[in-house]
Symmetry: C2
Subunit: 221 residues, 2 copies
């Protein structure tokens, strides 16, 4: 990466609980690389939209993709200001008091504007990055996109320049006077777990398992 | 619930792959009730924000909450148009072709404006709903919020009136001519799994386990 930290801005700095924030690209990239789905926010007129999308980080940018007619990608390609958020849920935090209940999580917000990728070579790079993000090596297993398929696909590049990570870990933080209440307090760890791959009903008998998902690798960074 | 379906609007109807969409409140509510985190989208000036938040459905509305100084809740309480999205990730879809790779998921987008909850009785109802959403019965275990804690908390009510669910399930849909490629195709199931609860380091020895999380219930609806 070009730079080890993101420069804080008015909209990316944390106003509260600043100790939970980070502009460190190592922290930011680890969250982006572990996540599978981002939530893309943009507006059409006065109306905000928040749309879940697949994505991949490639160096200092995110690639988003979908059908050429996709509303979100059209808005991004047209230069709509956007916010791309990735959230990883790590646990529930149960305090003695209702007030101090919380969630352990790692999230990244990236602010900026996207650009449609039109260069065929970069489109192939992005396509491979999107596959390998989900299942490392998958781009060497699957048939690559044809020119016609690339024309039917919208790929948008979104720079990782402005944004921040936010992380909460650890135990509940109860008030001193609540510690003796006799109420159980602690955390419930949460993890996104991949099950055994299930072959497509139309898979030809004898087809070799895909190394990219047999077994599916641990995504935890 | 008052009505079995949400009325489609220009921004909530699906433009593509309409067979994946649903306005059925049974479908919408099941997704909202299974999810743990929503992504709230709103704008400050030209800049969109997408912020992960805890939430709970209570009848025909969502409750969102956080610290009184929370930027997102302040914007919602001030009447900013918003979009609240909940996404459940069910699996990776690996096709023979890069082009047909996809993700199995269930998501809900709700559009509208929020209202700050100021009535103390409704604040207690919302607080209980927020706890019980995460761990059923937790509101009867934890100490209830005091008046001072309620003053330090912002709770926002968000109506479930306009929005839609979107669901993808099943196998990859490869092109006929790719079926014989010899590339493995299928799905990798994904599930958010709760681990064994971990007691807080400062938990008094002998404190009884909390029925709400011992064991943690299956959230799948």
């Amino acid at each position: 990466m070009a730079d080890g930290t993101l420069a804080p801005t008015e909209r990316s700095r944390l106003r509260r609980l600043k100790e939970r924030g980070s502009f460190d690209r190592v922290v930011v990239d680890a969250i982006l690389d572990e996540g599978l789905v981002c939530h893309v926010g943009f507006s059409e007129g006065p109306s905000p939209f928040v749309v879940p999308m697949a994505y991949a980080r490639h160096g200092d940018q995110l690639y988003l993709h979908g059908a050429a007619g996709n509303r979100t990608l059209k808005a991004l390609a047209a230069g709509a200001p956007a916010c791309v958020t990735v959230t990883l849920l790590d646990g529930l935090v149960l305090a003695r008091s209702a007030f101090h209940h919380s969630v352990n999580y790692r999230s990244v917000l990236i602010f900026g504007t996207g650009t449609r990728v039109t260069d065929p070579a970069e489109q192939q790079v992005a396509s491979a990055a999107l596959l390998d993000h989900v299942a490392p090596g998958r781009s060497t297993e699957a048939r690559r996109p044809t020119d016609a398929e690339l024309r039917a696909t919208a790929i948008v590049r979104f720079p990782i320049v402005e944004g921040a990570a936010k992380v909460r870990t650890g135990d509940p933080k109860d008030d001193e006077e609540d510690l003796a209440l006799g109420v159980w307090a602690g955390t419930v760890p949460l993890r996104l777990v991949a099950g055994e791959p299930v072959a497509s009903a139309d898979l030809a008998p004898g087809t070799a398992p895909a190394p990219s998902v047999h077994p599916y690798p641990d995504r935890r960074r």
